[in-house]
Subunit: 411 residues, 2 copies
C-alpha cells in the first residue's frame, strides 16, 4: 500500500511503457492539481490520450489512493460525467521555516490544505552542529506528534536565510560542515526527501502557488523585512539563476551614499530602503528631537524593533507613518526598476513591512507611477501578500511538493 503510493513519485528510472505510464500519471496529477476536479472526457482532450487509456490510468491512480471519484458533474445536456480529483489525505508535505529566533512548521496535504501548524517554536539559529541537531529534533518531534503516518510525508522543505543552492541542496551560510549537501544530511537523518530553499524565495513560492496569484505567469514577490528579498516567477516557474542566487534585490547598487551594508558594499538598496533602514532612521530622528508614541511607552530607544514601529504606525503614530512612507517611496523606486526589466503581470508585496498596508502601499504605488515606463507599468498589478506570516511555511511545503512532482519528469 505505501509501496504503491510512492510508485508514481519514486525516483527509480523506468523505461518503455512503464516510463510512459509514469509520465502520463504525473501529467494527470499535475493537470488535476492545476484545474481541480475534472472529467475523463476533459482529461482526454487536454492530455491527448484516448478515453480507455485515461480510464485505465485513472483507475490505477484510484487504486493507489491518489485520486478519487467526487460524484457527477452538473448536467451538460447528456449523460452526466464523473468528476475525479486528488485525494487530500493521500500524501503530505512538510514545511520548516527557520527564523533567527524561532521555527514555524506546517503540514500540507495533497490538495494544498494546511493541515497542522506549529508556530514560534523556540529555537536559536546558530551556525553550530548543536543548533543543527536541535533543528532535527524539532522536526522529529513534530512528525511524531502529527496524526499523519510518516511514510505519507513525501517531502520536506526547509527554509534558511542566506545563500542556498536549491538544485544541489547545499547551504553556504548555515550548517556547511560536511562534504555532502545539507539536504542529503537531513534526508538520511529524517528518512524523507528534503529540499532547501532561501527564505524569501520560499515565501514567494507560497504566494505564487497558493496566494494572490491566479493565472498570472510572470510575477514578482517583494519581501520587505529587515532586508529586502525578491522572488521571481517566470512563465509559471520559480526562477533561480545559475546557482540559485537570483533575486538579490536588496543589494543592487542604487544609492550613492556612504552607508555600509551588512553585505559589505556601499549604496545597496537596503541601506536606505528596508526595515533596517527604517529602524536606523527612526532612531536618528528620535535622537535629533523628533517625537513619537514609542517615547512615551517604557521603551529603550536603542532596543526599538521593526515590529514596534509597525505597531506604532497602526496606532497612528505620525513619525512612524511618515518614515514608513519614505521607505515605501524608495522601495517603490526600486520596484520600478524591476517592472521595467520584467514587465510582470503582478507584483506582490509581502514580509513584515507589508503589514502596514496602505501606509507603505500608497507611496510605493505612486513611486511606481513616477519612475517606471507607463506602457510597461500599466501591465502590472500591485497586490499585498495574502498569506502573511504563513507564507514561509506554506512556501516550504509547496516547494517540496513541486520538487517531488517534478522529479524524473523533466529528466
Amino acid at each position: 500500500m505505501s509501496k504503491l503510493l510512492l510508485e508514481v513519485f519514486s525516483d527509480e528510472v523506468a523505461v518503455g511503457v512503464a516510463y510512459k505510464n509514469k509520465s502520463l500519471k504525473r501529467a494527470i496529477i499535475s493537470y488535476l492539481d492545476e484545474v481541480g476536479n475534472t472529467t475523463i472526457a476533459d482529461l482526454n482532450k487536454h492530455l491527448n490520450i484516448s478515453t480507455p487509456k485515461i480510464i485505465n490510468l485513472v483507475n490505477e491512480l484510484i487504486q493507489d489512493g491518489l485520486i478519487k471519484d467526487y460524484g457527477k458533474v452538473d448536467s451538460t445536456g447528456g449523460r452526466r460525467a464523473s468528476m475525479y480529483g486528488l485525494v487530500a489525505e493521500s500524501a503530505f508535505f512538510l514545511g520548516v521555516d527557520v527564523k533567527r529566533y524561532s521555527v514555524n512548521i506546517g503540514l500540507l496535504d495533497f490538495k494544498k490544505n494546511l493541515v497542522t501548524t506549529k508556530e514560534d517554536i523556540p529555537y536559536k539559529l546558530e551556525n553550530t552542529n548543536d543548533s543543527f541537531e536541535e533543528l532535527v529534533k524539532i522536526i522529529e518531534a513534530f512528525l511524531d506528534e502529527s496524526p499523519v503516518r510518516r511514510d505519507k510525508v513525501l517531502g520536506i522543505g526547509v527554509n534558511l536565510s542566506g545563500r542556498i543552492n536549491n538544485a544541489t541542496g547545499y547551504s553556504y551560510s548555515f550548517f556547511h560542515f560536511h562534504e555532502e549537501p545539507l539536504a542529503t544530511i537531513f534526508e538520511t537523518r529524517l528518512g524523507i526527501r528534503t529540499f532547501l530553499e532561501n527564505d524569501s524565495r520560499a515565501m514567494a513560492y507560497g504566494e505564487f502557488y497558493l496566494g494572490n496569484v491566479n493565472n498570472e505567469r510572470n510575477v514578482l514577490f517583494v519581501n520587505m523585512d529587515y532586508g529586502i528579498g525578491l522572488g521571481i516567477l517566470v512563465d509559471g516557474k520559480v526562477y533561480y539563476g545559475k546557482s540559485g542566487f537570483s533575486g538579490e534585490f536588496g543589494h543592487i547598487p542604487f544609492f550613492t551614499n556612504e552607508i555600509i551594508c551588512h553585505c559589505g558594499k556601499k549604496g545597496c538598496l537596503e541601506t536606505e530602503a528596508s526595515g533596517n533602514a527604517l529602524v536606523r532612521i527612526f532612531k536618528e530622528k528620535i535622537r535629533s528631537g523628533s517625537s513619537s508614541q514609542l517615547l512615551h511607552k517604557d521603551h529603550d530607544i536603542e532596543s526599538i524593533k521593526l515590529q514596534d514601529i509597525i505597531e506604532a504606525a497602526q496606532n497612528d503614530d505620525v513619525l512612524s507613518i511618515e518614515l514608513i512612507a519614505q521607505i515605501g517611496e524608495k522601495i517603490g523606486k526600486g520596484v520600478a526598476v524591476l517592472i521595467n526589466l520584467f514587465n510582470p503581470e503582478l507584483v506582490i508585496l509581502g514580509g513584515t513591512l507589508a503589514l502596514t498596508g496602505d501606509y507603505i502601499r500608497l507611496p510605493l504605488r505612486s513611486a511606481l507611477n513616477k519612475y517606471s515606463l507607463s506602457l510597461v507599468n500599466n501591465d502590472s498589478q500591485l497586490k499585498m501578500s495574502k498569506l502573511g506570516e504563513k507564507a514561509g511555511v506554506i512556501g516550504g511545503c509547496l516547494m517540496a511538493r513541486n520538487k517531488v512532482f517534478a522529479k524524473n519528469s523533466g529528466e
Copy 2:
C-alpha cells in the same frame, strides 16, 4: 512535395496518433537542431521512443526531405551506426532588420547557416503607409532575387525599434494604422508567416542561439547603442514579460539628475550611460576646451556621430577613450544590478559600443566587481558579441524559426 514539407510545421490541428506523430517528429527535429547529427539509438534513448518507431519517423522525415543520412559514425566497438541530421536546404527563414536609415536582409537555411544577405539597403523608416509599402517592396525584391523557392521560406522575422508585442504581432510605434496586427498585414502581403520583434531582443536572439552562447541557459544580452537595450534568456528561452515589453534596461531610474530622457522621464540609465550620453558629453567637453582628433579633421562639432567617437577611440584618441571608459563604468554599474537580480551564467555585450572592445569592456568589468555581490558575480562570465553587425538579421531569422518550430507544440 512542398505540401509534404509543410506538414510537420502546418498549423492545422491533428488529433490522436496524427497529433502524436507530429509531436514526435518535432521532437526529433528539435533534438537534432540542438545536438547536431545523431544516431537512431541516441534518439531512442533521449526521446524515450522505441527503435522501430524512431526508424519509422526518421524515414518519414527523410521522405519529407527534412532529414538525411550523413554516413556512419566512428567506431564504438561494434556495428557502426548511421548518423542522421537536418537537411540545410530543406527550409529557409528570412530576417529583416529595419534600421532608421537602412534595411538589412538575410536568409537562413534549416541548419542555421546564413545563405545570402543584403546589407544597407537604402530605406527611410517613417511612420507612414508609403514607408510601409516601400519596406514590403524591398522584401519582395529580395525574395524574387533569391535562388530559393518562395514556398521553402517558412517564416519571416521583422525587427522594428520601439514597442512590439511579439505574441500578438502588434507594433505600437510604427505602422500602427489598422485594426489587424501588423504581422498579419505582412503575412497577407507576402504570403509567408511573419513575426515581429523588437530590435534589441532580435539581436539577443541571434547571440543566444547562434552566437557566444553554448550551453548556458540563463543569459543576458546588453545592446549598447545610442540607447541601451536588454535581451533576457531564461532557462534557454527568450523572456518577454506580460506584453513583450521586458528588458527596458535603458529606462530604469538610476541617476538623480535633471536630464530628460527621450522617454520623458528623468534619471534614466540612458541619460548618463549610453551612446547618446557619450555624444552629449563629448560635445560638452569639446565646447569647454578639451582636445580631440576629431577637432583636427574637417568635422563640424555639432554633427559628430557615435560612430565617429568610436573610430577616434580606435585611433587612440585620448578624449574618446576616456569618455568611453566613463560610460563603460556607468553601464557596468547598471549591469551589476542585472547580475544581482538574474544570477546569469553569461552576460554578452553587443551593439555599436561593443566595437570599442576592451575600451568599454575593462571599465565595465571592474564596475561589475565593485558593485555586484561577489558570490553572485563569480557565476557570470562576460563576453563580447560574436555576431556583431549581423546579430539583428540572424536574430530575426532565428526568431521566426523558433516561432515556426514552436507552433502547435506548446499549445
